[in-house]
């Protein structure tokens, strides 16, 4: 009995240092339950836990549509995760106060500007995000259009949509604006071509008036394209994710403004329509022949400044964004990696080849992503009212300018 007691005490004493050293890092995201990303998360967990004995990494997937509500509540009550996935732009920068600086780790990444507040880098980007127009080559051919020559100017795009309208079988664009995302994507697509560098800088600081000529052009074009029947009826009751894209993948719309990240992108569309039927081009804008790809930092990992293990969590972010792991994410999901050290040769498709070519051309930041949250929410509302004809461009822009000034003064 005495020997057993001694053995138990000895075991307990031996285990005590291990137990006291055991640490757990919690990561919040909206991706870790996605089968396409399973290899990436497994690789991160394996690599990090092997390099940090006694540390366990727990990925907790939250619903995407409630992610920032849950995150805000958790951060506000100091019970947030150690590491969190964030979208680039205002969703990240508006939370800068709660995030640990990662400036010393930001070398070798594209899109860091979208995760920088002032001079503080608040997250390391995992992917690049941007908008291109994907089109269905079979539908182009059926409408008498040359599928090898996508529109390069506004007049050519109008001619394409006129052809689909004349044919009357499918709408020119799939469109979902139930949450106002359709308005966001349209605004960023046109702003990339229209805005001067000065206007882009003003947009980033919230100083660009909504009554400026280019903003007016965007709002008027949004209304005009709706009235010209470019979109299917019921856009305000259609969710962009994924009703709009499912419509495109079913071959029920000729074009859609899609993403470069891991959803609603070339890989997903090619799986449904076949690689030979998917084409891609940069959205033209009226009044300019400039074509600039709207592109920014996509999603990235940040560290909770109030985490008890903030330095360890920063190490985890390094692993989450490391070229080896980011390459797995890129190959499995089709997302374009932010790390410039990632080898993308394993990704091959004609559409992706075109996209990579476009990325080497002129680019411009995503205009909507840098809007203050209140301004973005109001644009969601006004873009819906413009589509349904319940407001005028003048009234909508006046309201947007009012909200911009309010956000600026806060």
């Amino acid at each position: 009995m005495g020997r057993i007691a001694g053995w138990l005490i000895g075991t307990a004493l031996a285990a005590a240092p291990t137990l006291s050293m055991a640490q757990e890092l919690t990561v919040w995201d909206w991706k870790s339950g996605d089968p396409a990303a399973a290899n990436y998360f497994a690789a991160v967990k394996t690599a990090f836990e092997a390099a940090h004995p006694g540390v366990t990494v727990n990925f907790v997937m939250q619903p995407h549509d409630q992610y920032y509500t849950l995150l805000g509540t958790a951060l506000g009550s100091s019970s947030g995760p150690d590491v969190m996935l964030l979208h680039g732009g205002s969703q990240a920068t508006s939370r800068a106060e709660a995030l640990r600086p990662l400036n010393d780790m930001a070398e070798g990444f594209a899109g860091v500007a979208d995760f920088t507040a002032g001079d503080k880098t608040i997250a390391l980007p995992l992917t690049i995000q941007g908008f291109v127009v994907y089109y269905n080559k079979a539908l182009y051919e059926a409408a008498g259009l040359d599928p090898s020559k996508p529109p390069q100017t506004w007049d050519e795009l109008k001619a394409v949509c006129d052809a689909f309208k004349a044919q009357g079988t499918v709408p020119c664009f799939a469109m979902g604006n139930k949450e106002g995302f359709g308005g966001d994507f349209f605004l960023s697509s046109l702003a990339a071509d229209l805005f001067t560098p000065e206007e882009q800088a003003q947009m980033a600081t919230g100083d660009l008036p909504w009554t400026s000529p280019h903003m007016r052009t965007i709002a008027e074009t949004w209304v005009q394209t709706s009235q010209d029947g470019w979109y299917p009826e019921g856009a305000n009751a259609t969710a962009k994710f994924m009703d709009e894209y499912e419509m495109f993948m079913r071959g029920e719309a000729a074009n859609t403004i899609g993403l470069l990240s891991d959803v609603a992108h070339w890989k997903q569309f090619e799986e449904f329509l076949g690689p030979e039927n998917v084409g891609v081009y940069v959205h033209p804008a009226p009044g300019t022949s400039d074509l600039r790809l709207p592109v920014s930092g996509g999603i990235g990992y940040a560290v909770n400044a109030s985490s008890a293990n903030a330095d360890l969590a920063a190490d985890l972010v390094k692993t989450l964004s490391a070229p080896e792991q980011a390459a797995i994410f890129a190959v499995d999901t089709g997302a374009l990696p932010a790390s410039t050290a990632v080898d993308t040769s394993a990704l091959s498709s004609p559409t992706l080849g075109t996209i990579l070519g476009l990325m080497n051309g002129p680019t411009s930041p995503l205009a909507h992503a840098v809007m203050a949250p209140t301004v973005m929410e109001e644009w969601h509302r006004q873009s819906q009212l413009l589509v349904s004809g319940e407001t005028t461009v003048d009234d909508a822009l006046a309201r947007m300018e009012e909200i911009r000034l309010q956000a600026k003064s806060n």
Binding site: Y68, T73, L75, T238
Partner: protein, 292 residues
């Protein structure tokens, strides 16, 4: 002296029995309520320290067009209250009168009440979307389709109708329970005296059902003010514009999506005062009627 001692002991026992409930009420209701009120006087953004801003949030709420729209929407929704009372009462009456298949109707009416609002929303999303089954039916009979959820003129009405469909079965059951308490002899006597259906309804049934009507009115009002979030979330996301935004949805939007818990707390406080006013008025009316 002995009676006084027993009284004190009883009071102590009563206090002891009430203590757990009172503590729960204090911790989970009163303290959060006070904390919420305190938050409404700050510029809390849910991230760092919050500064005292006095009445600034309340001034902003009063000037906020989205909040004004949400209040107008609330008034519009509450204006449908007579329908919420009359429809279930009439259906309950019909079932009570013994229409053929009454039991089946009772079950069918009640079935939606057990479905969650998310499921109901998903079902009606398929029905009401522009290429949905309702518009397909309209087109089949030569009528123009309607953008039920995407147009400000029809979206709120559609939402209220779906909520009515999903919850009125409970009111039907409550009215049926009330109808079973009516003195059948009185109804028979009235019938023998030549009172027609509407006369019997007006002079016997409705007066007898008055407490039930009041109860349904109170429960429905609370449900309309606090129970539509799920449907709004699934069907319209508050749009188009603010056409289907009710205060509770706006609170959720401001607190989480727009990262302004201090401002959201101010909206909550205003909504609390409004709801307390409505509840007080209803209780007053019920008390007055009870005294008659």
């Amino acid at each position: 002296m002995a009676r006084r001692t027993i009284g004190q002991a009883e009071r102590r026992f009563a206090a002891l029995v009430l203590l757990p409930a009172a503590l729960l009420l204090l911790v989970f209701r009163i303290v959060p309520l006070l904390w919420g009120f305190a938050l409404s006087f700050t510029n809390a953004n849910g991230l760092g320290s919050a500064d005292w801003v006095g009445l600034a949030n309340y001034q902003a709420v009063v000037a906020d067009e989205a909040f004004q729209d949400a209040l107008v929407n609330t008034v519009l929704v509450l204006s449908t209250l007579p329908v919420w009372i009359m429809l279930p009462m009439l259906l309950a009456l019909l079932i009570h009168q013994g229409v053929p298949g009454g039991r089946i109707f009772r079950a069918v009416y009640f079935l939606p009440a057990v479905l969650s609002s998310v499921i109901v929303g998903s079902i009606f999303n398929v029905v009401l979307r522009f290429d949905g089954s309702l518009n397909a039916a309209l087109k089949a009979v030569g009528l123009h389709p309607v953008d039920w959820l995407g147009n400000g003129w029809t979206a709120l009405l559609s939402l209220v109708t779906v909520y009515l469909w999903s919850t009125f079965g409970m009111s039907v059951l409550i009215f049926m329970a009330g109808l079973s308490t009516i003195n059948q002899e009185m109804l028979e006597a009235a019938k023998l005296d030549g009172a027609r259906f509407w006369a019997r309804l007006r002079f016997i049934v409705i007066p007898t059902l008055r407490p039930i009507i009041e109860f349904v009115a109170v429960v429905t009002t609370i449900g309309l003010l606090t129970g539509m979030f799920g449907l709004i979330y699934v069907l319209t996301a508050g749009g188009p514009g603010t056409a289907t935004t009710l205060p509770e949805f706006l609170i959720w939007l401001e607190q989480g999506k727009l990262n302004r818990p201090g401002y959201a707390a101010a909206i909550s406080a205003v909504l609390f005062v409004l709801m307390a006013g409505v509840a007080w008025a209803q209780v007053r009316i019920m008390s007055r009627n009870a005294d008659l």
